[in-house]
């Protein structure tokens, strides 16, 4: 009898993790997965289950412009393809995401091969999904920080992809950056507005390039003509500067060693001694600007965006247990509740 009750309990728990895919237009809870190896840890599982995540926006691969000298190929090719070290969690919808570099997009634009590129992207997504038991696909997302000059190429690519996806009942969504809000919307079914990387991290006069509410408010003036989900940051990093010039992004989050670092009054840390961090040679006098996503700021931006855009769906960036461990369950739950209440 006890075994039966235990079995029922576990089954109920598994079944309760994730609410199944919401229908089109319904609010959903999502999270981006942006690493090159899909490996779900127990804490990742707990997060997915605990917050009843509906969708994982999973980066499948990037599309870059081939370097003929290295690869022997020309034109756009896939790169940094995701490897699968864990099975796909039950009850969570996977949304494949493909990031396209500007160089690749320019090549597609110039060559006029948007249709060919779209077909290749879809074929590969489809093969990866089938190979790893993902599906049926309901949505594919394209990510590209297109510019005014490459916009037409991007739109052509979106149109070509949409033509392939629509007969298959798959919707096409796109990421959207703040500066693109004022442009013509891309020809997609919906967008995910990236409310992070709001400022230029290369600039030395920026305090927190990850999320600046003032910058967000500058851009968010009113409604957007497409269904819009909100993508919010929950990550941190260090911006390594030397003599006021940007050098690299450091993923190390802890700079408490007082022999190596001296904390400033603001979010800047000064290097006291030459040493190597993540393969970079830091020199005495270098400055690391600690940037993070304080929950208060994220919440403020989330509220503001929801009010302006009427968005109810939230996608957090990104599924990384170390980064997420800085937030309490309630704080994260509140972000999703903001969106879905």
């Amino acid at each position: 009898m006890r075994k039966v009750l235990l079995f029922i309990g576990i089954s109920l728990l598994l079944l309760s993790c994730g609410r199944g895919r919401s229908g089109d237009g319904e609010a959903f809870r999502g999270i981006y997965y942006w690493k090159t190896d899909f490996r779900i840890t127990p804490s990742d599982s707990a997060f997915l289950c605990g917050h009843r995540i509906d969708r994982i926006y999973l980066r499948y691969f990037d599309v870059i412009l081939a370097n003929k000298a290295i690869t022997g190929h020309t034109g756009p090719i896939p790169s940094a393809t995701l490897t699968f070290s864990s099975p796909i969690p039950e009850g969570v919808e996977i949304v494949p995401v493909v990031f396209i570099t500007l160089e690749a997009l320019k090549d597609v634009t110039v060559s006029g091969k948007a249709g060919e590129c779209a077909a290749k992207i879809f074929t590969r997504i489809d093969a990866m999904s089938r190979a790893h038991g993902i599906g049926p696909l309901r949505e594919i997302q394209i990510d590209c920080d297109y510019t005014e000059r490459t916009r037409d190429g991007y739109f052509a690519l979106c149109n070509a992809l949409a033509a392939i996806l629509e007969p298959r009942g798959i919707s096409l969504t796109s990421t959207l950056r703040l500066h693109q809000l004022r442009d013509t919307p891309p020809p997609v079914d919906a967008v995910s507005l990236m409310l992070y990387n709001t400022d230029n991290f290369r600039r030395s006069d920026v305090d927190n390039s990850i999320l600046n509410p003032a910058t967000v408010k500058t851009y968010l003036k009113g409604n957007y003509p497409l269904p819009t989900s909100i993508a919010l940051p929950l990550y941190s990093w260090g911006i390594w500067m030397r003599d006021g010039s940007f050098h690299a992004i450091l993923h190390k989050s802890e700079y408490g060693d007082t022999l190596l670092y001296r904390a400033g009054e603001d979010n800047r840390v000064t290097v006291l001694k030459d040493h190597v961090v993540e393969g970079h040679n830091l020199l005495r006098g270098d400055v690391i600007r600690m940037e993070s996503s304080p929950i208060e700021t994220v919440s403020e931006v989330c509220r503001y965006a929801r009010e302006r855009l009427g968005s109810r769906s939230v996608i957090l960036y990104h599924l990384d247990s170390l980064g997420l461990s800085r937030y309490s369950f309630e704080q994260i739950e509140q972000l999703y509740e903001y969106a879905t209440d």
Binding site: T71, I77, P78, R124, A127, R130
Partner: protein, 702 residues
């Protein structure tokens, strides 16, 4: 300013200081490089040759073809026939290929061989469909995947022990493309000891290394690739695309077996390629120098090559004390083989020459070093070098093109370092002794091929002994187109005369050593001195040397066609004639003096123009403008003599005739009326011009 440019300027300055530059303008049409630009850095026998791999070449294909020939007992057929079938042909066309391809015929009679070859080609085709398309992603139910699974089954159905390795290779290749890396490793463990150590096992090994990489064992994969000399794959594993191969090899494995080739290629590019931007050259050599220290810190098995390389770079940058210290370490370090030992000693010799004062103690060492270098020249002379040198009459050598290390180094030492230094130090005899030896030693050993065309037939007599060849009349002589000749022709005549005396009457071991190895022919040398004295207008001295020459010697000169055909000793005759005029100029009769000056001036003018071959050698047709320009002083003197002769001639008829001979018709008519010359001008000329007076020196005397 680059070091090479500085050295060129110093050499130029030293030759200018030594004497006339004109000989250089005439003689040096052959130099591609300077003697100090010989390839010195050498750590392998292939030091001259950059091994460029044909991008179309498939690694292991030669050995694989050989193995096919062995396995099918077809060692008599050409490997290119095997290559065509194995790597290019479509097996469905085998029957038609068998018409001209013996390997195709053999295959048609060997069903087992045909079966495994077909398996290999099918596997390659299936793999190509997958690997060549960067967009492909394997799914078990796609057609490419299905094909590979079929290939795998066929590969595992090995029906021939002889071709077991071939089946196994195809199995591994199929598994690799299917991404089943762990399975590959398991199969390798099971089979590797049963496989013969041949090219097929090596080719299979690459996939095993690739499998290790793909399961994340990057360092192990790198080690495996390096063990088979595949640096490219090792670098790919570490994504070291931006690093030069040499640096990456040191980074990955300082004992990588291809390191010497990488070092040699880099050093050849940056030390000896004249098109390299000097700044880039300096930067890269500085990097390589630092790399030497880095490599040595890793305690490599081949330390000697790193010490040698570091020493060479220090030498190249003129840091001779540092080079000396490093060479000392190189001599005793592990890794010294026969090639490197010789190179270390050579670099030591060059370094010593650059850094020492060339006094008594140095010259003792020099003789010892020259003896050693000479022994290397003699003992290492190959047929290739012999044929090259004899075949082109030493052209490559004179052009200072690197091709025979020992002779090149002897020339680098003597012509590149010592001769210019000795000239600057006021020791031209030593410079000439060394230059003569440097230019003629090798030809003395190889002889020269004589090309002839007799009775409508073209013939070659190979390796005619050098002195015999130079004694022939009908051949072109290289001894008038080399560094020694250029030096002798540009130094002052007195210095050359001093050398000739020493060369013909050696006083010590150094004199004898260099004379025996040079071209010390009395006639050749006396002719040079005599000719230079004619050029200097020292006709009495010229006669002393020229009268020692046998009659007809001029027929052995390259310039014989430009000399007077009516006399067998044009130079001597001319010198005597000029001497006579000089004698007459001291006469008491002013008419005799005037006529002597006039004739002397004319002959001197012709000596610099039409009859330039009396005082110069040249290297092609009429270099009159060179001669005139170089002897502007002589030409002015000739003009002065002509004018003086004309104006001091007391006899009016003679004076008028002189003007007439010089085509100064106006002067002849107006200044000397009533003379025969004036009468002719008045009777025959419409316009009275003074052609010579208006254009002296350029006037072409007939």
């Amino acid at each position: 300013m680059s070091m090479r440019l500085i050295k060129k300027l110093l050499l130029t300055a030293s030759l200018l200081a030594a004497g006339s530059w004109t000989a250089d303008l005439l003689a040096c049409g052959y130099c591609y490089f300077l003697p100090e630009e010989y390839y010195v850095y050498r750590i392998s026998p292939n030091y001259l040759r950059r091994v460029e791999v044909d991008p179309a070449y498939l690694p292991g294909s030669d050995e694989n073809c050989q193995l096919w020939m062995q396995q099918l007992k077809a060692e008599t057929i050409g490997p290119e026939e095997v290559y065509e079938i194995v790597y290019k042909a479509d097996l469905d066309s085998l029957a038609s290929l068998a018409v001209y391809n013996a390997f195709a015929t053999i295959l048609l009679d060997n069903p087992e061989a045909l079966k495994v070859l077909r398996l290999a080609k099918d596997c390659e085709k299936a793999r190509f469909a997958v690997t060549q398309d960067p967009w492909y992603y394997p799914v078990s139910d796609d057609s490419e995947h299905q094909n590979l699974e079929q290939i795998l089954l066929r590969a595992r159905d090995c029906t021939s022990e002889l071709f077991r390795s071939r089946y196994f290779l195809q199995e591994i290749r199929a598994l690799f493309t299917l991404g089943r890396y762990q399975e590959i490793l398991g199969r390798w463990e099971a089979e590797k000891d049963k496989l013969p150590d041949d090219i097929l096992k090596q080719l299979t090994f690459r996939y095993i290394a690739g499998a290790e990489f793909n399961i994340g064992e990057v360092d192990k994969a790198v080690e495996m690739f390096l063990s088979i000399g595949d640096l490219t794959s090792a670098l790919s594993c570490k994504q070291l695309y931006q690093m030069p191969d040499l640096d990456a090899a040191v980074e990955l494995d300082v004992n990588y077996k291809g390191i010497r080739e990488l070092l040699e290629n880099e050093m050849r590019t940056y030390c000896f390629c004249w098109v390299v931007d000097p700044d880039r050259q300096t930067d890269r050599l500085t990097d390589i120098r630092a790399l030497c220290d880095k490599a040595l810190a890793k305690n490599p098995a081949d330390k000697a090559v790193w010490y040698y390389t570091a020493a060479y770079i220090e030498y190249f940058k003129d840091n001779y004390p540092a080079a000396k210290k490093l060479l000392k370490k190189a001599r005793k370090a592990p890794g010294v083989d026969e090639v490197l030992e010789g190179s270390i000693r050579v670099l030591g010799i060059l370094n010593d020459a650059r850094s020492s004062r060339h006094g008594f103690f140095y010259e003792r060492r020099l003789l010892r070093d020259l003896k050693w270098l000479d022994a290397q020249i003699v003992n290492n002379l190959t047929d290739d070098v012999r044929e090259q040198t004899a075949g082109d009459s030493g052209w490559m050598m004179r052009a200072n093109l690197s091709y025979y290390y020992w002779n090149d180094m002897m020339r680098a030492l003597t012509l590149g370092i010592l001769a210019p230094d000795y000239i600057k130090a006021g020791k031209p005899v030593k410079a000439l002794q060394l230059a003569n030896m440097a230019d003629n030693r090798l030809l003395g050993l190889t002889g020269i091929d004589h090309y002839d065309y007799v009775n409508g037939q073209f013939s070659i007599t190979q390796g005619v002994p050098y002195k015999e060849y130079l004694g022939r009349e009908e051949v072109w002589k290289p001894v008038y187109s080399n560094n020694f000749f250029e030096m002798a022709d540009s130094l002052s005549t007195g210095k050359v005369a001093a050398y000739v005396k020493r060369a013909l009457q050696p006083k010590n071991e150094f004199d004898r050593f260099t004379a025996e190895r040079g071209y010390v022919d009395a006639d050749y040398l006396n002719d040079i001195v005599g000719t230079k004295y004619i050029r200097d207008r020292r006709y009495a001295d010229a006669v002393k040397y020229l009268e020692k020459l046998p009659e007809g010697f001029q027929n052995r000169l390259n310039t014989k066609q430009y000399l007077d055909a009516y006399t067998l000793h044009a130079k001597l005759d001319h010198a005597r004639s000029m001497l006579d005029y000089e004698e007459e100029m001291r006469a008491s009769d002013p008419a005799v003096v005037a006529r002597a000056k006039f004739n002397y001036g004319q002959e001197l003018m012709m000596q610099y123009q039409m009859h330039w071959a009396l005082s110069y050698y040249g290297w092609s047709a009429y270099p009159a403008e060179y001669v005139e320009k170089a002897n502007e002083e002589g030409m002015n003197y000739a003009e002065k003599m002509i004018v003086e002769g004309m104006e001091t001639m007391p006899d009016k008829e003679e004076a008028a005739m002189m003007q007439y001979e010089m085509c100064n018709f106006k002067t002849a008519a107006e200044k000397y009326p009533g003379t025969e010359a004036a009468g002719w001008v008045v009777a025959n000329c419409d316009t009275w011009e003074d052609y010579h007076r208006e254009n002296p020196i350029q006037w072409n005397i007939q």
